[in-house]
Symmetry: D2
């Protein structure tokens, strides 16, 4: 009367740091700081139904594999690492038909010219998700998260419908702030990963800054369009943009005018704008977002 549906399992959040000795600019060390999660699917009914683990590559083994592959592959781009790691799994056992690898990379900045000292940037997290399916092929999705941006002007919001619960006034000059979470799908599992990430990031930030915005949706669409234009290898961009409200404080009880100077930065609730921008000729997404 009951059946097993979709399932997968793996090791999440393996915190591996690779130091490329002398591999950085000018012979400095090169730090790659990653949070790697792997997830496998395939012929896994037995472990669910009877606890027969003969097809279950232990998640502990998956952890070990991340470390061993980090040694083997060295301080490469995270997209390449994810592709290699995924291929390792789908090539290792018939029971594993699909591997999903996601990586968060925390960027570090050199300090003080020693060649071995670094400070965590903190400005954003670079993200990668690779899926390798034995039958359906491979997909690569790059992205960025935790990037907080703000426009002090150049944003409006008016012309919206008014119903019985509407109290918001028209805004012709508001602050606009968001924590960018963007993911971009590549047409092929092959690109100059080290070059396309900063190109996409610059396009995204540039579009945020330069769009005279009538809604955060419009800014989202501009960001997606800018990335697709800057990096033709990308065919689809998905964005989730919380509208981190900055409300102008009412200073009139104190006899003061607030001429767009003093704001209250609210935590919750927040607007949440989610959307997708695609190239007209984008190939079908297939498994990329699963």
């Amino acid at each position: 009367m009951v059946q097993l549906g979709t399932n997968r399992y793996g090791k999440a959040e393996v915190r591996v740091v690779h130091v490329g000795r002398g591999a950085g600019p000018g012979g400095s060390d090169l730090v790659r700081d990653w949070n790697v999660s792997s997830s496998l699917s395939g012929d896994l009914a037995a472990t669910h139904l009877t606890g027969d683990n003969s097809n279950v590559l232990a998640t502990d083994t998956q952890k070990n594999t991340v470390y061993a592959m980090a040694k083997k592959l060295g301080g490469i781009e995270p997209e390449t690492f994810a592709l290699e790691l995924a291929a390792h799994y789908t090539g290792s056992a018939d029971a594993i038909s699909r591997a999903r690898i996601s990586i968060q990379e925390y960027p570090w900045l050199p300090v003080s010219g020693t060649g071995h000292s670094f400070a965590r940037s903190g400005q954003y997290t670079r993200t990668v998700t690779v899926i390798d399916d034995a039958e359906l092929g491979r997909s690569v999705v790059g992205g960025v998260g935790d990037l907080i941006v703000l426009n002090t002007t150049g944003s409006q919001f008016w012309g919206f419908p008014r119903d019985e619960y509407t109290t918001l006034e028209d805004a012709y000059d508001r602050m606009l702030a968001t924590v960018v979470s963007a993911q971009w799908r590549f047409r092929q599992a092959d690109a100059d990963w080290g070059a396309v990430f900063p190109a996409a990031l610059d396009a995204l930030i540039g579009a945020f800054a330069q769009t005279e915005s009538y809604s955060l949706q419009q800014t989202l669409y501009a960001m997606g369009t800018a990335i697709l234009t800057a990096v033709p290898q990308i065919c689809e961009v998905r964005l989730a943009l919380p509208n981190k409200h900055h409300f102008l404080v009412d200073l009139s009880p104190f006899g003061m005018a607030n001429e767009n100077e003093v704001y209250y930065a609210a935590d919750r609730p927040y607007g949440l704008i989610e959307g997708t921008v695609l190239a007209d000729d984008a190939p079908d997404a297939g498994i990329a977002w699963s």
Copy 2:
């Protein structure tokens, strides 16, 4: 060359607390403490492409609507509230073709017999997601999150394949701990919501406790099966179970034997087991998980 894909927008994390005055057991107050997120989709191309907001019901209005509906509807079950709120949106404007409402409910326990004093339970969060589509109908998904459970014995893990990166030893008696995140889909948008939640929760916890487990996958399947058996109105259960590893500490360097007494509770990495259990006659999920 570029087009708009799937999109939605709304107000996230509206923290509304409703006090039913005298509505609790014995004339005590009744507290419903919710985190409500709403999200709308429909005819929204204009705001993305040109900043024309004439179809964009402001997220501020959505916040107001949550509060007003809380007043109108009183301290009802969160599933009912979500259904009513979703129907309000799809019924309010042609441009809104779909509404998605999700609620997290934080349970409170009465203390001290005053009828007005409460302590946050902290043991779990109850969750609800309702989707109401003007064409495709309605779906209700209930669930639970943040529930941390542990078995001190009755769990094994062995018989898994060994490859070049495998170092894990067989375990015939291990600790098993997880933070349960479960979501269950109802066959219809109609049930005795106040009764089915504790029934599903009890079934889930009972299955965790009573399964002699050979893998967390097996426990997952038992949990899903127990819920489907206990609550026939539910047709599908999705679970995400992080394996919160408790490693036996090696005390041999100190001349001590560790007879399953002293454990190190690790943070990261953790196993992550995700799976679905369905009734054989489960209707198609349609929009329920979107």
Copy 3:
């Protein structure tokens, strides 16, 4: 021109879980789930000035010691464990003149009558801080944290001064909610720890519930007094009570009256009330709060 001032070092957040096999009620297992931090001070100038570590008991050793002591001592009360662990350090080397041990205990509730299955309570964290100084003696501070409580009525706030920046209206019936952080100092390093904790906790919660409150300060004072009264071994209570504001939503724009039913639970800012209540004959605190 420069000198070393106060200093200490140690291992923080050792997550040790002890299972007392058959040691619980009715022969069930007994789980003690702790987050232990130790911190040592003494003759430590050399490591700061020259990197001479001959007096520095490694923090890794401190981690090992927590595990080994957990095995030796078994599933005892956290106050006793902290006292024993501290004494071990001050007795182990002349260079260590003081040890500070702090423990957070996460309570677990039995489920399903198996004797080996538990759910994390989540309602509060029990805390302990012990300081053992070779010259100045020992102190024990117990406490509770993460306890969220709420009164739906029985709280007022009026009669406060009004200056040029005051806009708050008098409140004659408001919600009162706080996350209790309380620490209580014992007269002596000896008590029936397993009995006094629930007695202090019950007194605290009872005082919160039963005080007809004109300010959170008044409630704080009542909580401290109740603990001192209920547990004479305690001579001082320190409380930090964030006032987690629940604002009545203005529903008048929607033609509705809000008769103390619908509230917005705010995140930030929050009031923060901190205070100490002492027995008249409390001995000097000495090192207890350092």
Copy 4:
């Protein structure tokens, strides 16, 4: 039998953002993004004992005061703001004998040359604590938090004592990483705040990078010394440095040597090194750290 001890109260975490229109370099906007907490003490026995609030300046008023002062004072350095805000309170009512103001400042970086677009730096938080006591005078403590730094080499740890619980091996070349939390006390409530903060920060980071370290304590002492040397207006530095362990992964089971390349970044437990460095002629700290 019971008495009131030390106490204070206030509004915590007022999230105020001030935009100086055209006040930045080249006529760009200038963003100051603050989290302000204020706390008052004085003649407050009545509210604790009887709920008489006639001396209790409402925390809501304190919130309003932050906003009004932000308008009045404009986008000034946070130390100056804190001093002015504190003086406002102690000067406003006899009952308020002391004010404590703490500010966290989140730095923003300009992007894209628009003059109005910014990205949150994320690299660190700047901190300020000012105490103004009507009798005892004023103190200013600056600082930095959330700054994550790492040395890939140049760190050792050996020569530590070995007891029955010691298993750690000598390290002659280890990774060293920490999240810096530093606070520095000024000799006087007067300095070129905008200049001394980056000077102190640079000195701290430089000392971390350039110290050939035999213990994190030695690095701590070097950091403190560097700040005192670089900024003579500072007389005392307090640091809390978690040792964020990066453990070399044992790859030998896979037939690989790990030549300081692949590390596991652990979460917990962590070492915690706390210490103070003072100028020989540092004036007494008085109330500065209370």
